[in-house]
């Protein structure tokens, strides 16, 4: 009786263990990681946020699995310029949106977003490229032109209002002289 109970117990443990191993193998074999950068983010300026989507396709297991996602931004020479990590729960199929800041000092050129997924079944990665362009110099030109216009307007206003201010001062002086003298006479 005891022997048969032990047998059943070990059989159950073996079954559970094998099913777990099998599910992990399924996930590793069938998981498909995909990174997609929307077209509007294919060309970015330094200092802007780049948004992208991460998709897990064909996940065979039905159970929820916690996976760690690491997002790296690499420049054309392969240097790491930005990074972030996130842990998410995954079932059969999932899609997430993530973002990274393009550093303000980043030079122009082709860059990569590399997503590395770490799950109980192993590590997989996917990548997508985008371009970092130089900051829009036209905006700076507009700001400078605007500032010059404002400065010129202020100078024009000061020049125009100077005689008016002098006249106002003069009027005040005359007012005071008349007021004081008439007061003394009374």
């Amino acid at each position: 009786m005891k022997k048969s109970t032990l047998r059943v117990f070990f059989s159950v443990i073996l079954l559970v263990a094998s099913s777990l191993i099998l599910s992990s193998i399924c996930l590793a074999e069938t998981s498909n990681l995909e990174v997609d950068i929307p077209s509007s983010y294919h060309s970015m300026q330094a200092g802007q946020d780049i948004w992208f989507t991460i998709k897990f396709l064909n996940l065979a297991n039905q159970d929820r699995v916690d996976v760690t996602l690491k997002f790296d931004m690499l420049d054309s020479k392969g240097n790491l310029v930005a990074t972030n990590t996130k842990t998410v729960a995954v079932e059969t199929q999932a899609s997430f949106v993530a973002n990274l800041d393009v550093p303000t000092t980043e030079k122009s050129g082709e860059h990569l977003i590399m997503v590395t997924m770490t799950s109980p079944s192993g590590v997989s990665s996917a990548r997508a490229s985008f371009i970092v362009t130089e900051k829009d110099s036209r905006l700076t030109v507009y700001y400078i032109a605007g500032a010059i216009v404002i400065i010129l307007l202020v100078i024009f206003f000061i020049i125009k209002s100077k005689p008016l201010l002098r006249k106002m001062t003069l009027r005040t002086k005359v007012d005071k002289i008349v007021k004081d003298k008439l007061k003394d006479q009374k």
């Binding site: 005689p163 002098r166 006249k167 003069l170 009027r171 002086k173 005359v174 007012d175 002289i177 008349v178 007021k179 004081d180 003298k181 008439l182 006479q185």
Partner: protein, 159 residues
């Protein structure tokens, strides 16, 4: 109220001013002094028994402020002079008169046309506000200016 232009010789100028101002003694006046300092003008008027306490002086000769009740304006600044005279006319209540001693001095610092415009502006403003004007000018100076401006006055006296 009338506006008068008195053209006289340099020697008689101060005497004529005294004669014209004396009957107005007791009335408040605005005295624009263009060829003498306020101090010397005041002394000369006092010598002839004119009550200078009723006079508001605009001194266009000296720029140094000695008294608070005297306004100093450069004769080059006709717009400021005109503004000051107008403000005095506005601020002084009741009957008043304006003395300009002497108009031709303005020609040293300004061109004829500018002075003529200033005179026209003053005579019109004074007329609108019922203010008597006594403008003096030496006979020998600024004849062309005098020809341009005599029409702006109700009365011109040539001595």
């Amino acid at each position: 109220m009338t506006s008068q232009l008195i053209i006289t010789s340099v020697e008689k100028l101060q005497g004529d001013i005294n004669k014209k101002v004396k009957p107005l003694d007791g009335t408040i006046g605005i005295y624009v002094s263009l060829n003498k300092t306020q101090k010397s003008t005041e002394e000369m008027l006092k010598e002839h028994g004119i009550d200078v306490s009723k006079l508001f002086f605009i001194d266009c000769v000296t720029s140094e402020k000695i008294r608070d009740d005297v306004l100093h304006i450069s004769p080059e600044q006709l717009d400021m002079l005109s503004e000051a005279i107008k403000q005095f006319i506005k601020d002084i209540p009741g009957e008043k008169y304006l003395v300009i001693d002497a108009l031709s001095t303005l020609l040293i610092y300004n061109n004829e046309n500018k002075v003529a415009i200033f005179v026209k502006e003053m005579t019109e403003y004074a007329s609108e506000h019922d203010v008597k004007i006594l403008a003096f000018s030496p006979k020998t100076q600024g004849e062309e200016l005098l020809d341009k401006i005599f029409n702006f006055f109700d009365k011109v006296e040539r001595k």
